[in-house]
């Protein structure tokens, strides 16, 4: 079973994961808190930065790998998950983080999520959900609520939003959680748990956009309404209850672990290793590979 290795002998601190690049986010952006929580989670897990690959797509939040000392990959819009899967399969020993915004993950890249989930590679996928397109200056996002007036919806949105939590649970994910920078220690803890989870883990982070976001989504407002699931006595092994709670996305702000599969399926890379082990004996020396085509 693949899982993150135990903390190395040399303890790491949050600052060891912080790069020299200065974030270009707007002052007050929720993503500042998210990157801090990631530093803290990584320090707790304790893998050296060069053993971490951090992949993102495009968007404000997708700048995040550059602000860490890990091997980063700020790729193209919506495609962080496929790239991360290639990395994981090429080097299963790496700790692979994937991050991006709600547009990246649930609009342009939405088709990839279901498949990343069912392959169950040991990846941690963090979505910074702000219900708006910030980088392109304030258009509708897939999680924008119906009726929202934005730069591209002057008369109000005509669509229902995507429910990231319910989608990912519905796809069959084994680990689904939510956090917010309004609760930093809770967010760091939930990201750490996701990283340690042996399989695909999804964390939706309510990370408000200070420039184009809605007033009632800002950190101050969140602090007043967030409800830790643990305080509600929710059992994370109960998938149906998790789905029921997830339907309240957009109306309630639950934090913590919605679902954690007590018996997660094998990861793709573990299954791949079994095939490699079985196949090794059947390999020909490489320079004799064409012998398989010999007429006989």
């Amino acid at each position: 079973m693949t899982s993150v290795s135990v903390a190395s002998i040399e303890p790491y601190q949050a600052k060891d994961y912080k790069s020299d690049l200065k974030p270009i986010w707007c002052p007050g952006c929720g993503d500042f808190g998210v990157v801090q929580a990631i530093y803290r989670a990584l320090a707790s897990v304790g893998r050296p930065p060069h053993e971490i690959a951090f992949v993102s797509g495009i968007g404000c939040s997708s700048r995040i790998p550059g602000y860490t000392t890990a091997y980063g990959f700020n790729s193209v819009h919506g495609r962080a998950l496929p790239i991360a899967q290639g990395i994981k399969l090429a080097s299963p020993e790496l700790l692979v983080l994937v991050a991006g915004g709600d547009g990246d993950g649930f609009s342009i890249g939405g088709g990839h999520v279901a498949h990343a989930v069912r392959r169950n590679m040991d990846l941690t996928y963090i979505v910074m959900d702000n219900q708006i397109y910030g980088l392109t200056k304030g258009q509708l996002s897939p999680t924008s609520p119906r009726g929202l007036r934005t730069a591209s919806s002057s008369w109000g949105s005509l669509e229902d939003p995507v429910n990231p939590l319910l989608y990912v649970l519905g796809y069959g994910a084994s680990f689904v959680a939510q956090g917010t920078p309004a609760d930093m220690s809770g967010l760091a803890a939930v990201i750490e748990e996701a990283i340690r989870f042996p399989g695909f883990a999804f964390v939706n982070v309510q990370s408000p956009c200070i420039t184009y976001g809605q007033e009632n989504q800002q950190l101050k407002a969140q602090k007043g309404v967030l409800q830790p699931l643990a305080s509600l006595g929710h059992d994370p092994a109960d998938r149906l209850k998790a789905m029921a709670l997830a339907t309240e996305y957009g109306t309630k702000l639950y934090t913590g672990v919605f679902y954690r599969n007590p018996e997660p399926p094998p990861t793709y890379e573990a299954e791949a290793r079994l095939r490699q082990e079985e196949g090794r004996a059947l390999a020909r020396p490489k320079h004799e590979i064409l012998e398989m085509f010999r007429a006989q």
Binding site: F73, N74, V76, P82, G86, A272, I289, L290
Partner: protein, 595 residues
């Protein structure tokens, strides 16, 4: 005869294609050079199916022209293939008597074949094997008998093919084969088509198609990851990886779409592994954004495009060379992506290895432009000494270079040492956004110009790669042919035929299509008065690309036609004759000016 083309057609269940496969194995074991192309109707199962087998005492470079022998199990099915199975007065037509057609009333308007023979094929199958399913074994017996091929190779093939079924099935097919051979012995052809013994016997010939060869070459080159999505006619490459890659410690992913397929390849390359994807035209369109990412992030990868008729779904099972413009120019930004194309199944080995070498050496995506003809045809291939092929690895940073490592450091060659996750001290940010030497995002015009220059400069040495060009014929010849991909074989055969009738023509076959090696073409075209750029695209795409970069002599014109209908050597020779006449006319006009 030194060269023989057999065409067979029947319904889906008639076993036409497996008969073709059996011919290939038998030919390889007897030392002939052989080439098998298959063609099907649009149905996935059932419907009409056909194959062409060309047997030759010398290396066959194309699937040939008119059929010497046509085998017709069913006239409706045969006629559906039209110009793919051309019949004329040189053809011996063998058909199932059960079709009820009289030998002098064949449904071939305007054609009087050399000989038409009705053989009770279905009846013989039923009598010997108890089932009409053995028709193909009867046909093999007939052909082996009439063409003078050794029967043992076929019988061995039958035992191998049906070995997993009951002894009864094996026996039935053996009997059917023998009945066919006996029939041939008792009914000799009016003009026998016995194939000459090969000049020299090569032991250990391979029988393989282009897709399998491509995938095997990739594994040989050290490819450790394949990501892709099923699409005709490239899927066999992915299927090969699905069977084989695990044995070599690698992995594959059948992705959810074309974009994810190449996305995973980009990721695997970032992680330090050689990686490949394969697709056809529509898939290439979807992969284009990722190719841009690999270019700016300077990540090696090989992207195979097995071309088919386009645009869109187009002619998904037929060959065309109409994705050259896309391969060269579909990139956004100031990009130069190397494009390589194999010219045969055998050549696919070396060109695929070369595609990985170029990708790894220059840290760039490489497009390998195969085509359906090469990818899905089988060839007998002489044993390849794989040890003669060099395999290039990417340049990794030294310990000294890892101190204050700069992933995109400026170097003389433009190639910077590349690290990968897991390498301590090599940490960097790969990105699709423009970046400076350290990998930090930058919107500076100076940085952008500098990086563009680096990314373009590093590929300049490719244009000097004479080994990626095949030149045949007298260097001073006034006539020239340029051709590429599967059609190059047809063009080379045509040139040979033309030389036999005294036409002085030389041939240039580029296997590096892009960047255009201006100097190599300039040298080739020096002194050329006229010629042809032979290719299977309506626009003449290579001709157009060459016109962009090279002073193509005015007398060099495209011989270009849309896919599916094969370009035949005879058609090229005919055009060459026309060029010769025109040249002579011009000479006469120069000597005796019109008054």
């Amino acid at each position: 005869m030194k060269d023989l083309v057999i065409g067979m057609a029947g319904s889906g269940g008639d076993g036409i294609v497996s008969a073709g496969d059996a011919m290939m194995t038998a030919a390889a074991l007897q030392g002939w050079s052989a080439l098998l192309t298959k063609s099907f109707g649009p149905q996935i199962r059932g419907g009409e199916s056909s194959c062409r087998v060309r047997l030759s005492t010398e290396a066959a470079l194309s699937s040939g022209g008119t059929l010497d022998v046509a085998v017709v199990l069913n006239w409706d099915d045969f006629l559906k293939f039209g110009s793919e199975l051309p019949v004329d007065g040189r053809t011996t037509v063998v058909y199932d008597a059960a079709t009820g057609v009289a030998p002098d009333k064949l449904p071939l308007p305007g054609v009087v074949p050399k000989e038409a023979i009705a053989v009770p094929i279905a009846q013989m199958a039923k009598a010997t094997a108890g089932t009409e399913k053995a028709k193909n074994s009867v046909v093999l017996g007939l052909l082996a008998g009439w063409l003078g091929m050794q029967q043992e190779a076929f019988l061995k093939g039958i035992r191998k093919r049906f070995g997993k079924k009951s002894a009864e099935v094996v026996k039935g097919n053996e009997e059917a084969f023998k009945a066919g051979a006996q029939y041939a012995a008792e009914h000799p052809l009016r003009e026998p088509s016995t194939l000459a013994t090969p000049a020299s016997m090569t032991e250990g010939k391979l029988v393989v198609d282009g897709n399998d060869m491509c995938a095997a070459a990739a594994l040989f080159a050290g490819c450790q990851f394949f990501g892709g999505y099923p699409i005709t006619p490239s899927s066999e490459i992915m299927q090969f990886f699905g069977r084989e890659v695990w044995k070599y410690g690698g992995t594959m992913l059948q992705a959810e779409d074309e974009i994810a397929g190449i996305g995973a390849v980009v990721g695997a390359s970032f992680a330090g592994k050689k990686a490949m994807t394969a697709t056809s035209g529509p898939g290439m369109s979807l992969k284009t954004e990722m190719l841009g990412l690999a270019t700016i992030a300077e990540l090696p990868l090989v992207c195979v495009n097995v071309q088919r008729g386009g645009p869109s779904t187009g002619l998904p099972t037929k060959s065309e060379q109409s994705d050259l413009l896309q391969a060269c120019f579909s990139a956004h930004g100031d990009v130069l992506r190397p494009v390589l194309a194999p010219i045969s199944v055998a050549d696919t080995f070396g060109i695929t290895v070369e595609a990985f070498n170029v990708a790894e050496q220059y840290q760039t995506p490489v497009i390998l432009l195969s085509d359906q003809e090469i990818a899905q045809r089988k060839e007998t291939v002489d044993p390849i000494d794989t040890r003669a092929f060099q395999v290039v690895e990417r340049r990794q940073p030294t310990a000294a270079e890892l101190d204050k490592y700069a992933r995109y450091a400026t170097t003389d060659s433009g190639v910077s040492p590349i690290s990968h996750p897991g390498m301590q001290g090599g940490n960097y940010l790969a990105s699709g956004i423009e970046h400076n030497e350290k990998g930090a995002p930058s919107a500076s015009g100076e940085v952008h110009a500098r990086m563009n220059d680096k990314r373009l400069r590093k590929l300049e040495p490719l244009k000097k790669r004479r080994d990626l060009f095949l030149i045949e014929g007298d260097t001073k010849a006034p006539l020239a042919i340029v051709s590429w991909g599967s059609v190059a074989g047809v063009a080379r055969e045509a040139a040979k035929l033309a030389r036999q009738e005294g036409i002085d023509v030389k041939v240039l076959v580029p296997k590096l299509l892009y960047p255009v090696a201006e100097e190599i073409y300039a040298e080739f075209f020096r002194g050329v008065a006229s010629g042809l750029v032979v290719e299977q695209s309506h626009q003449g795409q290579l001709y157009r690309v060459l016109r962009m970069f090279v002073d193509v002599p005015r007398g060099v014109v495209p011989l270009a036609q849309s896919g599916s209908v094969p370009i035949l050597p005879a058609a090229i020779v005919e055009r060459l004759r026309g060029l010769v006449r025109a040249l002579q006319g011009r000479l006469v006009a120069e000597v005796e000016p019109a008054g």
